[in-house]
């Protein structure tokens, strides 16, 4: 297509939107709501995920042995652990190491105070394996498995936040998928309606165009422009809103809840929008494009 033709059709597409303000506005608003919610859900989801990941890093399952456990038994347990796929890493902590680490924590490295226990390691039977998981949701089954192994006295683990967080994260994902799917359908439907109205308003013009020798693509172009522009506007507006909102919340939390920021940190704006911008634009423009193409196929027999 020639540049002047392109700009003419582009202009006609914008004119369509303008002439058909109510429908266009409704479509843009739905699109905006759709992308906005997508952004909100994504932001929440990505932050929870980062929280879960932070929590995971601290999660370790500790396996303690029977007092009479033999070297071989302990080694066998180690092999059994390494065979599990959910295990990211595990390490053997000897009684001496445990004591050293305890001393560091408890006596603050005060050798003289600790010297009282010099020849009598109070943690003599606290040799252990520390296991780090790559998937917290597998923790329960791993613990059950470990408890059945020979020579295992006790399995320590924290089932605190981790499980709840994973469940919650999953719930958010499902809800957001559902809501977004519904909204996408509504947005596509509204764009299709807008285009249909545009076609009926321009019926005579289209008929004349065809009689003077317009190609199908030329007749369709303004409507495709219309759909794509609605999609584009409907995804840029929520992106701007989300950007402002996200930053506001970050500053607000940083100011008001100083203590909280030590506990966990928000995923930075840049990282969130690195995903959100392309996905929203593709979604908006894609729905606009497909919505208009589909409608033209049905209602514009050229």
């Amino acid at each position: 297509m020639r540049l002047s033709t392109l700009s003419y059709n582009f202009h006609q597409g914008i004119v369509n939107i303008w002439k058909n303000k109510m429908f266009s506005l409704a479509s843009i608003a739905t699109m905006t709501a759709c992308i906005f919610l997508l952004g909100v859900f994504y932001s929440i989801g990505v932050n929870f995920e980062s929280m879960v990941r932070n929590a995971e890093e601290g999660v370790a399952v500790t396996v303690l042995f029977n007092a009479d456990a033999s070297e071989e038994q302990i080694q066998a347990i180690g092999e059994a652990i390494s065979a599990r796929s959910e295990v990211a890493k595990y390490e053997f902590i000897s009684a001496e190491e445990a004591w050293e680490s305890y001393k560091m924590d408890y006596f603050n490295g005060d050798e003289e105070a600790a010297a009282v226990f010099a020849d009598d390691n109070p943690l003599a039977d606290s040799a252990s394996y520390s296991i780090y998981l790559n998937d917290v949701s597998m923790q329960d089954s791993l613990v059950a498995y470990l408890e059945k192994l020979d020579g295992v006295r006790e399995v320590h683990y924290s089932d605190v936040a981790a499980n709840t967080l994973t469940d919650f994260n999953r719930l958010i994902k499902y809800i957001s998928f559902g809501v977004i799917a519904i909204l996408i359908a509504v947005a596509a439907f509204l764009i299709s309606n807008t285009i249909t109205v545009g076609i009926s308003v321009r019926k005579e013009e289209i008929a004349i165009m065809k009689l003077i020798g317009a190609k199908d693509s030329f007749v369709r172009a303004p409507f495709v422009v219309e759909g794509v522009t609605i999609g584009l506007i409907g995804s840029v507006i929520p992106l701007i809103l989300l950007f402002i909102l996200y930053q506001r919340i970050l500053t607000y939390v940083a100011e008001k809840f100083d203590a909280l920021s030590n506990l966990f940190s928000f995923v930075p704006v840049k990282e969130v929008f690195h995903f959100l911008i392309p996905v929203s634009l593709i979604l908006g423009v894609g729905i606009g494009f497909l919505g208009s193409r589909f409608t033209l196929k049905r209602h514009l027999k050229v």
Binding site: M1, R2, S4, T5, Y8, E204, E205, A207, I208, M209, K210, L211, I212, G213, A214, K215, D216, F218
Partner: protein, 224 residues
């Protein structure tokens, strides 16, 4: 230029609008088509524009068999056939210049050609001064001139006019008819559907008479 061989058209409703019409219109000819209301004149024009396809028979325009033109080739074909209607069919929201330029935009002409040709054609139809007026600000005769300018701006070899003066008073009707004659003098083949017996009597052109879809009379042509 235009050749019809045993052309019939039956609408889906079962109405037979055109029955076994055969005729030949030579390049550069000026032809009137007359007939009562419902005799099939508009149907004939639609067949020539390939807005409709004949149920039977063959239509050849400019050496092209219309049956062999597929959907994608229709736009190219129509660019060679200008058309004018009784009710003008102008775009009400665009001014005179834009209505004419529209025809060139539609066929994707370069901008500089549009800028050059639209004023030329507007002065040909005598509307150069009113190029910024909207259709509703013009008289019927003026509106029909805009429509003619629009039909001609792409330099078609054939101009079809379906009752172009049907909505005009006598004076305006004559102006339009003179304009069409002038266009014919410049070499365009012109086919005019009309009810106006004055034109037919005065202008001494070939007249094809249709009755209930059948050609019943064909007189006055120089070469048949």
């Amino acid at each position: 230029m235009i050749r019809l061989e045993h052309v019939s058209k039956t609408y889906e409703a079962g109405v037979q609008a055109v029955t076994d019409v055969s005729l030949h219109i030579a390049p550069g000819e000026f032809v009137f088509i007359v007939g009562d209301s419902g005799s099939g004149k508009s149907t004939l024009i639609k067949l020539l524009l390939k807005e409709l396809n004949p149920t039977h028979g063959k239509i050849i325009v400019g050496g092209k068999d219309l049956e062999k033109i597929n959907r994608r080739q229709i736009p190219r074909y129509r660019r060679n056939v200008g058309v004018v209607f009784q009710n003008f069919r102008l775009l009400q929201d665009r001014n005179v210049y834009e209505n004419v330029a529209f025809a060139m935009r539609v066929v994707e002409s370069p901008k500089k050609d549009i800028k050059r040709k639209v004023p030329t054609i507007l002065s040909l139809v005598g509307l150069a001064a009113k190029y910024r007026a909207l259709p509703r600000q013009l008289s019927g005769g003026e509106q029909q001139r805009v429509a003619i300018a629009r039909a001609l701006v792409n330099e078609p070899k054939i101009l079809l006019a379906d009752e172009p003066t049907g909505n005009l008073d006598n004076r305006n009707a004559w102006e339009i008819m003179k304009l069409l004659d002038e266009i014919n003098q410049r070499g365009t083949t012109v086919v005019v559907v009309t009810h106006n017996m004055d034109f037919i009597k005065t202008m001494n052109k070939r007249v094809i008479t249709i009755k209930k879809g059948v050609v019943v009379d064909d007189q006055g042509g120089e070469e048949i």
